[in-house]
């Protein structure tokens, strides 16, 4: 779904900021401080358990009004933080 009234560039920048904020917020709710996430950092190394990643995915879909995991289950390419952001950016594009 296309984000409303935003150019592609603005959209992707916004999505990155939203995702980082969301991850930080969920980590904070879990009582954890995350090391800064670079694009090639494996998401799995982030100390976020499966419940937290599930929460992040669900909240991002709500907030960005996306359905980034249509077809479900197919999450294998999602190895790094960068992949995770790109997946949401592509869903918004």
């Amino acid at each position: 779904m296309k984000a409303q009234n935003a150019s592609a560039q603005e959209t992707t920048g916004t999505i990155r900021v939203t995702i980082i904020k969301m991850i930080e917020q969920v980590a904070e709710e879990q009582g954890k401080t995350l090391p800064s996430l670079s694009d090639d950092a494996p998401l799995a190394g982030s100390h976020l358990d499966s419940l937290r990643i599930a929460i992040i995915v669900a909240r991002l879909d709500d907030q960005l009004n996306l359905d980034s995991f249509t077809g479900a289950n197919d999450i294998m390419p999602l190895i790094t933080f960068g992949d995770f952001i790109r997946l949401h950016e592509n869903a918004a594009a």
Binding site: E29, G45, L51, A54, M76
Partner: protein, 470 residues
């Protein structure tokens, strides 16, 4: 040979030729099976729990694992507390299970109800089995079901019902190094602990404090051969590049529906391994393992002619009768676990397509979040405590990581005054307050991920909330 019921977990664990190499390990502790036998002080401590009803209430899984080895055959009853047992339920649990002693790895809090009885604090090094010539009794093991409304549901087992035939476990191969994403204080994890111990193997325990990559690194370092978890655990694990660093011979899923996608991915990642999924529950016990690479299970498993296990489908849901089912629920006015013919209703809806059966959800609308069960009514009860909430509906929403997550719909009481009350700001405030209530009262996996504030909810002709269940 004495009957199985009088061979304790320790008797079944020890005696393999390589007890010196066999081990139990977590992130901090590594102990060989042989070393456990050489702890005279520990034996004395264990013997002091003879015929007691013991609440095993530990922070660390390894303390619980070693205490089970130490106390089975000695204690009259062991109540195995899961990590998320709420403090508010402790008193009820102690009364219902007639607890006479507490074994823990941490000091009690102020006004801790557990100190009403003998309270022993110890670490993993303090625990070990009683000596060989002391009497063994058939200890009752009490487990908790993973999702319950209100007071927790306690289920009675014995080592026999939990472990099943010793020969079958040993046929899985001695020398196996097991590991599991599950907590061994719940049924699924306990199965793996027992397989490792009784089967002549070792076990690597997981920790909630380590990342999947750190856990997988330990699994690789210990050369784990047999590894198990829920489909959610595996979906999460396969996101980590470290998943490629392990090479198990056996990878198993249980606790949730294993769909074809996750089975295919596990097989692709571990082509050398047997990939299996199992059906088991705390009440019904282990029913079967399927390792043909396909989702669901062969329809011919539904038979009452089996020697060990009978399976039938009644009112759409699967019922199981076997010597692996639990004995009963604990407590006065507890529901009856088995029907008059000895079958336990699993509550799992079965759908048959050709010669294959598939799981099609839960009878009571229970939400399965990564293998942990959530009763919508329990969450609704918490939300409804908020003075501005008129009614609420909690349901599951599909999620690619945990299978499902909890979401809620809430209807506000009509504001007493003007319409300013329904401003976005007020709605946001309500959401925040409801979330705070839920976080206080519920385990993290039960807290709604999303709360929608609506003007009305569907109420059916029966006056009940329309839950939209199949």
């Amino acid at each position: 040979m004495p009957p199985h019921s009088r061979r304790s977990l320790w008797d079944l664990t020890r005696g393999s030729e390589d007890d010196r190499q066999r081990f139990i390990a977590d992130t901090a502790v590594h102990t060989s099976i042989e070393a456990l036998a050489a702890r005279p002080n520990a034996a004395e401590l264990s013997a002091s729990f003879r015929d007691q009803s013991i609440l095993l209430s530990t922070n660390e899984q390894i303390t619980a694992a070693l205490a089970l080895i130490a106390l089975d055959g000695v204690a009259q009853r062991i109540v195995l507390c899961p990590p998320d047992l709420a403090a508010v339920h402790i008193r009820y649990v102690m009364e219902t299970a007639e607890v006479s002693a507490v074994l823990s790895d941490h000091a009690p809090d102020a006004a801790d109800p557990r100190t009403a009885v003998r309270y022993v604090t110890c670490g993993p090094d303090d625990l070990g089995p009683i000596t060989a010539n002391e009497k063994r009794v058939a200890t009752e093991w009490v487990l908790f079901t993973s999702g319950t409304t209100g007071a927790p549901k306690m289920v009675a087992h014995t080592l026999d019902t939990l472990a099943g035939p010793v020969e079958r476990i040993r046929a899985l191969g001695a020398g196996a190094v097991w590991s599991t994403y599950y907590d061994i204080r719940r049924y699924g994890g306990l199965q793996i602990l027992l397989r490792a111990l009784i089967g002549g193997g070792s076990i690597v325990l997981s920790s909630p404090r380590e990342s999947p990559a750190e856990y997988l690194a330990r699994v690789a370092a210990h050369h784990v051969t047999h590894i198990t978890g829920t489909p959610s655990h595996w979906r999460r694990a396969l996101m980590s590049p470290s998943a490629r660093d392990i090479s198990p011979r056996y990878a198993r899923m249980s606790g949730e529906i294993a769909d074809q996608a996750i089975i295919d991915k596990l097989r692709a990642c571990y082509p050398q391994a047997t990939v299996a999924h199992a059906f088991a529950s705390t009440e019904a016990g282990l029913a079967f393992d399927v390792d043909d690479g396909k989702a669901g299970f062969p329809a011919n498993l539904i038979t009452e002619n089996g020697t060990a296990i009978a399976i039938r489908v009644q009112d759409g849901s699967m019922r199981i009768r076997s010597n692996r089912t639990a004995l009963r629920y604990l407590g006065e006015n507890a529901p009856i676990l088995q029907d008059p013919e000895g079958f336990v209703d699993t509550g799992d809806i079965i759908e048959r397509r050709g010669d294959r059966c598939y799981f099609a959800g839960r009878k009571e609308g229970i939400i399965n979040v990564g293998g942990l069960k959530v009763h919508p009514e329990e969450v609704e009860a918490v939300i409804n405590r908020h003075p501005e909430v008129q009614m609420s509906l909690v349901k599951g929403r599909a999620n690619p990581i945990t299978g499902a997550i909890v979401v809620a719909e809430v209807v506000r009481k009509p504001p007493p005054g003007d319409d300013a009350e329904s401003s976005a700001e007020c709605v946001e405030k309500l959401r925040t307050e409801i979330l705070a209530l839920c976080r206080d009262a519920l385990a993290a996996y039960k807290v709604p991920v999303n709360i929608r504030v609506l003007s009305a909810l569907n109420v059916g002709a029966s006056g009940k909330l329309a839950r939209g269940r199949a």
